[in-house]
Subunit: 562 residues, 2 copies
């Protein structure tokens, strides 16, 4: 057995509290190297005759990626304490793996050899809102969803869909438009809306906030927004807003004050200014988002800034009863701020959803003290590379997805925000070169996968467009121009996800077959005595597929054709 490949470290994704009673333990070994793994475990304080008392439980292989196999077991320690090690077997050998290294025999004269989960304290358990697990999100870019009140149109507003969007064009989308089309969303079946920013800001995307306490007048007023949230709630739809707390806009009053008064400004410590006077070009002499002088980074370590932003965060929950915050550029803001953010918002609404925008490995934000989830771009990339771009074959896709699942605890995976596209990426139909069948497969995978899926407005009716601004075209409301077949497909998937527990988050996913020649994958989702089998043929060829033998004698239903 290859010792160098064997990995475990307590907490994070390898040993974590799944709920108030249960610990999940994982182990990584070299792929196809180990035949059986047992967990050796016990309460650290139970001894007899000078020997630590342990039990043994077989672990199961929970998946594999390119290089590794992963092993899993769940344990309910009666006194909430656990010391443990691993007993690994291949055909010939046995190996004991502990925190102190490898042994031929499990040492019992001391618990200090062993890994330790010292105590399962409830308050430390990662707990995301339950409702998120059953939510299908819909992302709305408010400027482009629907124009319901032309009186609010900004100067120079173009008529709806009359042109391809540019970085600076306006089409007048607003809250009234969204309200008028809520029934469309209900028909589709979604039950959560994620709005990109709605606060006062000069751009069409509103990521350059001027005032975090005001709604941009092009979208409507607070009353209209309140009506929108209330209507959503009546229809069982949750509402998530976008918080741009990493940086402000250029016209944010405190930044304007610093521009004007320099070192004398009482807001000079609201930003990270390297020297006075401020220079915005060529490279700003203050910290910014990327090198964009118009987006000065906020000093979230400054107690005044912290208070201001936490007041913003709680204001929109308290006054408008929103259900979630999506946090823009969340990875560049300090962890301490997010810890206090979580305490503040959960104190007034315990089941609010906190979603960070992070594109890379996000374990340090998902330990229970900061976010509930991140935008699962590793999932996105895997799906796009397999279904849309054909860059990887079936087996590598399964490896990527298994790797994503094993990068985080299961309770984190269950609320991961799984998107295929967004206002920051080209439209999925465009990436698929217009091949609708590939889009359909992707939706099937997304909507049957672990996590909380999000559909970018218009993807369900086959809208197209490249990198932004291309992906931010006006929503098409003329049914003749909508791909109603694709709409029906997504609608059906959402309905299946809602109807069958195994289809959605309760179902545990296992890849049962991948074939690089035919490029198909097959996986099951199992919940209690119900198993749903998925076979996805990601090729242009017909696929003949024989149901696995062990399904014989069981009640079979074709969920797709009914």
């Amino acid at each position: 057995m290859l010792k160098e490949a064997i990995y475990h470290r307590p907490k994070d994704n390898f040993a974590y509290a799944y709920d108030d009673k249960t610990l999940h333990i994982r182990l990584r070994t070299k792929k196809d190297d180990v035949k059986k793994v047992y967990l050796i475990y016990g309460d650290p304080y139970i001894w007899e005759n000078g020997e630590w008392q342990t039990e043994k439980k077989e672990m199961r292989k929970s998946g594999s990626d390119d290089l590794f196999d992963y092993w899993f077991t769940a344990i309910i320690p009666p006194y909430r304490r656990l010391r443990y090690g691993f007993e690994l077997h291949d055909e010939n050998d046995m190996l004991i793996y502990t925190e102190k290294g490898f042994y031929d025999e499990a040492p019992k004269d001391d618990t200090a050899y062993y890994f330790c989960f010292p105590f399962l304290n409830k308050i430390d358990v990662f707990k995301a809102p339950e409702w998120v697990k059953d939510t299908v999100w819909y992302q709305i870019f408010p400027e482009r969803f629907a124009n319901g009140n032309e009186k609010l149109n900004p100067k120079g507003t173009l008529s709806w869909g009359s042109a391809d969007p540019t970085p600076t064009s306006f089409f007048g989308g607003d809250f009234e438009g969204i309200i008028q089309h809520l029934d469309y969303l209900v028909e589709l079946g979604i039950n959560g809306i994620y709005f990109t920013p709605i606060f006062k800001a000069p751009s069409n995307h509103k990521y350059d906030t001027i005032d975090y306490f005001e709604i941009d007048p092009q979208f409507g007023d607070k009353q209209t927004f309140k009506r929108l949230v209330d209507l959503c709630h009546e229809k069982g739809i949750r509402v998530m807003l976008d918080a741009v707390f990493n940086h402000s806009g250029y016209y944010f009053a405190p930044f304007q004050d610093v521009l004007k008064n320099g070192e004398k400004s009482k807001y000079k410590d609201w930003f990270h200014i390297r020297e006075f006077p401020l220079q915005t070009k060529p490279i700003p002499n203050y910290d910014t988002f990327a090198f964009v002088g118009e987006m000065p980074k906020l000093n979230t370590e400054n107690p005044e800034v912290k208070k201001y932003l936490l007041d913003v965060a709680t204001y929109w929950i308290r006054e408008f009863d929103i259900d979630g915050w999506r946090l823009d550029v969340a990875n560049e803001v300090d962890h301490q701020f997010w810890r206090e953010f979580r305490q503040a918002v959960k104190a007034i609404k315990p089941d609010v959803y906190i979603l960070g925008e992070i594109w890379h490995d996000s374990m340090p934000w998902l330990r229970g003290d900061q976010f509930d989830a991140v935008m699962n771009y590793p999932f996105t990339n895997g799906a796009l590379r397999y279904f849309a771009k054909g860059e990887v074959k079936a087996s590598q896709f399964a490896n990527i997805i298994t790797n994503v699942l094993h990068s985080y605890p299961n309770n984190v995976n269950e609320v991961a925000f799984n998107l295929l596209g967004s206002h920051d990426t080209p439209r999925i139909l465009t990436i698929c070169n217009g091949n609708k069948e590939k889009v359909k497969l992707m939706f099937l995978f997304q909507l049957s996968f672990t996590g909380t899926p999000c559909i970018y407005y218009g993807d369900e009716i086959g809208m197209t467009g490249g990198q932004d601004p291309g992906c931010r075209k006006c929503m098409i409301w003329d049914e003749d121009k909508q791909d109603r077949d694709l709409f029906a497909h997504v609608q059906k998937l959402i309905s299946l996800r809602k109807t069958y527990k195994a289809f959605g988050n309760r179902g545990e996913l296992r890849f049962i077959e991948t074939n690089d020649e035919t490029n198909h994958i097959a996986y099951t989702k199992t919940y209690e005595d119900e198993t749903i089998l998925f076979v996805l043929n990601n090729s242009n060829q017909e696929l003949e597929w024989t149901l696995p033998l062990h399904l014989k004698g069981k009640l079979l239903t074709n969920l797709w054709t009914n």
Copy 2:
């Protein structure tokens, strides 16, 4: 190159902020497998002609353990942001390692492949008090250090040193006794005292607190304690107390109230009670330390308990100006409590030292939001196994120590609490079977090692004793019975550590030779242009050792013989 052995994951001990400007990046590879490693890195937002712009820096091998080599480099990213990957070479091949896996060539069309340290936010930097790096601690078990006021003797007090201690014996040690012997400690050269608990408690060890706001009368009153702290401070000695916050004693008033009033007690949620009425035997039906019914676990998730304990924590700092808290059974208390603890105590004394008692891998407590350090038992065990017990040879000892150093960030290592013995372990001279030379070697290693060393009272004069109560004998004050030669040895080492920066924490340690036949080790400590060479002969044979050639032409001083 063995891909399965290659490991990196951002934050924790592999990528961390060393200070407000500097990131440390580490990589792990299979031992003796890789010849050269370069860090490929850049600001994520610097692009030219559609290509991400990167730089390259060679990493150096910072050490090896049983199975792995570790590579290290430090980077100061001008905009505090970093994306990075690794370029690995052996004789024939080159391999690029990124967050998304391995490549033959470094991809430059996207930064998403790469590992990410998104932003170096100062508030998240692990920061322990500077003074700890230059402190040599002395641990005092107050009941056994010196009896300076016989009027305070508890009932049944035995005369000083007249008998071997039992679990229940008293010898009347007190604050007055410590005050009378401060000059002894000054003579030895220590500049920090760690006191095991001093609060009101019935036992001789005081880990069964009755009242966290009162000093146990056998030690003296608050005035005397204040005088002790002030005298220590006058002599440049810091004072650390022991906080037993995981559990209370049986006679802690709130627990007595629950015992008496059961479910009606207003303190019923101060503990973790599984059912009423309370049963202490055979296994308590409430959570306890181990299965000790007399030590009920405190419910540190309960805001009332939290407030009470944080009031305790701040009270002794505010009123008595103590410099540190050592936290008993720290690993079984929730992380959230420790986060609030840190905020509370650092708010009133920013350079207070927070030391957790954790015997196992402690990364989850050392991320900057909880502790400054843990008791470094992995160091202890390594040293005892090599020097005292002869269980491992020179090379394995170096492996163990290198592994310990690479388990944590460097700024964590610099304040690690390195002990050889304590009130919880047999005396080091006893473990060495009375072989003083081995004890001397151990002290040399401990006092020249990275971290903050602690001497258990009496070890410096050759006291003996097995597992407690054996290791808790009365301090010997009769100089004729003290091993003054050993005292002088420790005194000299402390003095060298204070005199030469390279000797102590500023010096960077490298093992330059280990020999399993002669069982000797050689290492250097380097600070700026000063290098100290240590050769430790852990055998009964004489060792002939030739100075390394590259020392030729440099100014040499024998620090030991002067």
